[in-house]
């Protein structure tokens, strides 16, 4: 990416484009959004990630103006947007179902918003042609939505929502209906378009890979609350809770009791049959506190002999091997009964690998490989 140093959220003087200030949304008694505070900056590609029903769509609909917050304040470019109807907001939304107008051609669908804005005929024509080129739909301009394929419909929906050059574009699971290959192509296309237009994108997805691929920052949500907001690498490497660690990618969670072991270092007693584990943590823990050590499978080394160097080792036997082509995941049952996943890259051919089912093995990892979490 060209914007290597793009991080307005670290800038204390940065002005957010969107600001949620203690926003709560209730449907009757049901709390869909629970006291949410969040800043999203200009030119960001912001991803909302979370299980179905956690309130992602509700957040989008509040930004678009289809729902009003029950309490709290929402600002767009410094202005309170409470009570401003959707047709008066510089926000456009790409709907989960695309919501293309079936009675209009591709061309007229894209021109629809421009015609409402009082632009001249030439301006509209120019802009529509631009959008058609951008989304590579020029050839299909005269077709109706039911005469084009799913992937093309999705591009038309995108073109239509971009046509008015909104300050903010909301994308609600935009790629949900596409198959994997087309999805990946479209993700890169989206990133290109986002960069070339300079629009702020907020994308909803329940696909963590998608969020990690496209986003400048990711917010992980659960039951109407934001659990963590951070860049994709921070979310992956430094989750703030077991929930986030578990939600993003594969992870081993080992629960135990903490014992301080020097500056920023802690022992974790987790199994009477195994040696205590050593983990580094900037977050302080007190003596005797219960904690969870989260370690990614690819950070765990698996070997036939006991490693001499490693800070953390544990003995076990191979329960199962999942061969994923480029990677293999070993399910190792430790002597205490817990199963730990260890992942290695398959750089050698399958037949020459030394470890197989039921083998006695050692797993090991460094003190900084895992993250120590209190919840």
């Amino acid at each position: 990416m060209s914007q290597t140093n793009f991080s307005p959220w670290d800038d204390p003087n940065g002005k957010p484009l969107i600001r949620f200030d203690n926003v709560t949304k209730k449907f009757g008694e049901f709390v869909a959004i629970d006291d949410l505070t969040l800043d999203i900056y200009e030119r960001e590609f912001f991803a909302l990630l979370g299980p179905s029903g956690c309130g992602k769509t509700t957040m989008m609909r509040m930004l678009a103006g289809f729902e009003d917050p029950t309490s709290g304040k929402m600002e767009l470019a410094g202005k309170n947007i409470a009570g401003i109807p959707p047709n008066k907001r510089a926000v456009n939304m790409m709907f989960q179902s695309y919501a293309l107008f079936p009675h209009l051609t591709v061309w007229d669908n894209i021109a629809f918003g421009l015609r409402r804005g009082g632009a001249s005929k030439q301006q509209i024509e120019k802009r529509v042609e631009e959008m058609l080129t951008l989304t590579r739909m020029t050839k299909f301009a005269r077709r109706k939505p039911h005469q084009i394929s799913g992937g093309q419909r999705q591009r038309v929906a995108l073109a239509r929502s971009l046509a008015k050059a909104p300050k903010l574009l909301l994308l609600d699971e935009p790629l949900g209906a596409l198959d994997k290959k087309l999805r990946q192509d479209t993700q890169f296309e989206l990133m290109d378009i986002q960069e070339s237009t300079g629009t702020t994108f907020v994308i909803v997805t329940h696909d963590q890979e998608e969020a990690m691929t496209v986003a400048s920052r990711v917010a992980v949500m659960d039951e109407g609350r934001i659990i963590q907001v951070a860049t994709p690498d921070r979310i992956y490497e430094a989750p703030n809770s077991v929930y986030v660690a578990d939600f993003i990618g594969d992870v081993n969670i080992i629960e135990g009791t903490v014992k301080p072991a020097g500056e920023d270092l802690y022992y974790i007693d987790w199994n009477p049959n195994q040696a205590p584990l050593l983990a580094a943590s900037e977050r302080p823990f007190s003596d005797g506190q219960t904690a969870h050590l989260a370690i990614r499978p690819e950070k765990i080394t698996i070997s036939a002999e006991q490693p001499v160097e490693a800070k953390n080792t544990a003995k076990g036997s191979v329960l199962d091997i999942a061969y994923l082509g480029n990677l293999s995941t070993y399910y190792v049952q430790l002597d205490g009964g817990q199963v730990v996943k260890a992942q290695t890259a398959n750089t050698r051919r399958l037949s020459r690998r030394s470890i197989t089912w039921e083998d006695k093995v050692w797993i090991s990892w460094s003190a900084t490989a895992g993250v120590l979490l209190d919840r």
């Binding site: 959707p86 047709n87 709907f95 179902s97 107008f101 629809f112 918003g113 409402r116 394929s149 929502s161």
Partner: protein, 273 residues
């Protein structure tokens, strides 16, 4: 396909005979040259000629058409509005009561509807004539339109309207530019239904009609009381023809639409992506 059994053929014949024999007889005798309705005396179209020269019938036809066009248009506007509010309006006080009340005239005996309208018109001192029939027909056919349109609106994807709002439409523009064009087939069939209902209504029209405004059904009814004439048969045949053509056209239009839509969809799926 299964072979038609003796039983199937019999039931089919009986059923259709029951439905259509009376009408076939009517059409048949309208081409009878004899003045006596039940005696066949050779083929002739002279009663159709008589009909065209009969001013009373022509006047009645004009009144009927006028009433049908105006009342079905009014009923379509009101019925569509009612359907839209009842389907889209969300929860408001007494919504269930309102939807019940819109549909009540469907099951209300026509005699009662007619009588109550008559009482109303007398009460407010409205002279009975074309206007009162139009009002009465609008009243009772509006609920039919409302039923047809709301069944379409229930399956209408709400996000289309939201997309229109999102792109800068006022709520009225969203209705005019997006909702209405898409539900147009339902609105048109609602209009056709109201038109036919008005065309052949006898009971309510006779309650609300005045001396100067006789509709065709009233005319036919009163003429028949003096004896069935071949002229009436000819008139009825024309009415059957009009209604049949209308119904066939409507069903052909909708069939053409669905076939074309399916065809396009298949073409899109086969085509590039």
């Amino acid at each position: 396909m299964r072979r038609a059994s003796w039983f199937n053929i019999t039931s089919l014949t009986l059923g259709f005979a029951f439905l259509y024999l009376p009408m076939v007889l009517l059409v048949f005798y309208s081409f009878n040259s004899s003045k006596l309705v039940t005696v066949w005396a050779g083929f002739s179209t002279k009663w159709y000629g008589e009909l065209i020269r009969n001013e009373a019938f022509l006047d009645a036809a004009v009144v009927t058409l006028k009433v049908a066009v105006i009342s079905s248009t009014l009923a379509t506007i009101l019925g569509t509005m009612a359907a839209y509010v009842l389907v889209r309006g969300g929860k408001f006080m007494g919504r269930t009561l309102f939807s019940g009340m819109v549909y009540a005239p469907l099951v209300m005996p026509e005699v009662i509807t007619g009588l109550s309208l008559l009482l109303l018109f007398i009460g407010i001192g409205l002279d009975r004539g074309v206007l009162t029939i139009v009002l009465a027909h609008t009243t009772f056919s509006m609920c039919y339109v409302s039923v047809v349109v709301s069944s379409r609106l229930v399956t209408f994807d709400r996000s289309l309207e939201e997309a229109a709002l999102d792109l800068g439409c006022s709520p009225f523009d969203a209705f005019r530019l997006v909702t209405l064009p898409i539900i147009a087939p339902a609105v048109i069939s609602g209009w056709l239904l109201a038109f036919t209902l008005s065309l052949d209504d006898l009971v309510i029209a006779s309650f609300t009609t005045g001396p100067s405004s006789t509709t065709l059904p009233i005319k036919i009814w009163s003429a028949v009381r003096l004896g069935v004439s071949p002229e009436i048969n000819a008139l009825s045949t024309i009415m059957i023809g009009v209604v049949t053509v209308g119904v066939i056209a409507a069903s052909l239009i909708s069939k053409h639409r669905t076939v074309k839509a399916q065809h396009d969809l298949q073409a899109a799926e086969r085509g590039t992506s």
